[in-house]
């Protein structure tokens, strides 16, 4: 999917240095911003890191700063679900599906099964109740229930080290070595 803001947003040297750290771990400590500043070095202050992170959130580059829980270990089960929806009803049904709190991701995709979403529920019984309710409310009965049988990988990390940038950095700091 191409977003409306498809062009790469300019990231400063500090943006990249901060993202490289916080995308995998935001310190669990009394003064996490100070810890990040120390790790970055180059005389960066706690307040600069704090303002940088707030700015990354305001610009929508960071969607959320918090904990990623293991849904299963919290006692929830989740599944991918696909629906075959008539083209003229896709938006209506898409919005209906999105209204469920157990739905976290919901996309229209290029296939006869054209609506794909993830559904979480506190139990198997609750999951099937939800699916039944969705069938009744949407009138769509052609649904694929696709729970994970086996997981091969789940981790997203992008390389923000300044050297990886083609656009260059507006900041005046020297490039650093990649630290991984």
């Amino acid at each position: 999917m191409v977003s409306e803001n498809a062009q790469e947003l300019p990231l400063s040297w500090l943006d990249r240095a901060v993202l490289n750290i916080v995308q995998s771990r935001f310190p669990v400590s009394h003064s996490p911003y100070l810890d990040i500043a120390k790790e970055i070095g180059h005389g960066i202050s706690e307040d600069e890191v704090y303002r940088c992170i707030r700015s990354l959130m305001e610009r929508g580059i960071v969607r959320r700063l918090g904990a990623v829980f293991d849904t299963k270990k919290l006692g929830f089960m989740s599944a991918l679900v696909a629906m075959r929806v008539p083209e003229n009803r896709i938006d209506e049904v898409g919005h209906l599906i999105s209204s469920y709190p157990g739905v976290s991701h919901n996309y229209k995709r290029t296939h006869d099964y054209n609506l794909w979403f993830t559904l979480a529920a506190p139990s198997r019984a609750a999951m099937f109740e939800l699916l039944e309710e969705i069938k009744q409310r949407s009138g769509i009965t052609d649904i694929l229930y696709l729970p994970t049988v086996r997981m091969h990988k789940i981790y997203v990390n992008f390389d923000f080290s300044p050297s990886s940038s083609e656009t260059g950095s507006p900041g005046s700091h020297p490039p650093t070595e990649k630290d991984d």
Binding site: A67, T110, M151, K153
Partner: protein
């Protein structure tokens, strides 16, 4: 594992975005939950150890950092060993972020799912072609997302 009301309060505070109006976000979370910051740190450490918390960090908006195209590749690989091989071949690409096996149905024969985030659509197609070549598995489809209706982190409690 059973979660107490306090546990649920803590999860509630951590499942969204931590308080951003302070330099000491955990102190604020602890205050909201009525516990000490040390007690909160203990809980977080325990949950990390048990894998209940996978990580604490930033969740990025992919589209905004230059990863523009999101494609779901699906592969028909009935043999489990072969499925592992295809999964490993797929995961060698940095554009592949998730790889799962899922059940099949008469109307849905694809059991292996791999999510791709690529800078161009051509790159997504190229990866799929290369993996098909390398593994000899040619029954695959690329499902592009043409509209995002929802993308959020789950709210548990």
């Amino acid at each position: 594992m059973r979660f107490s009301d306090l546990d649920k309060d803590i999860i509630h505070q951590l499942q969204g975005t931590i308080p951003l109006d302070t330099l000491h976000p955990y102190e604020e979370i602890a205050r909201r939950c009525g516990i000490s910051e040390e007690k909160l740190f203990e809980k977080i450490a325990l949950w990390r150890e048990k894998g209940i918390i996978r990580r604490i960090g930033a969740i990025l908006k992919h589209q905004k950092v230059g990863k523009l195209y999101n494609a779901m590749s699906v592969w028909r690989v009935p043999d489990p060993n072969k499925a592992t091989e295809v999964a490993q071949t797929l995961m060698a690409y940095k554009e592949i972020t998730h790889c799962y096996e899922r059940p099949t149905y008469p109307e849905w024969p694809y059991n292996l799912f791999a999510m791709m985030h690529c800078e161009t659509m051509q790159r997504c197609e190229e990866i799929a072609r290369e993996v098909a070549e390398k593994t000899g598995v040619h029954e695959y489809r690329l499902l592009l997302s043409t509209k995002e209706y929802k993308k959020e982190s789950l709210q548990y409690f």
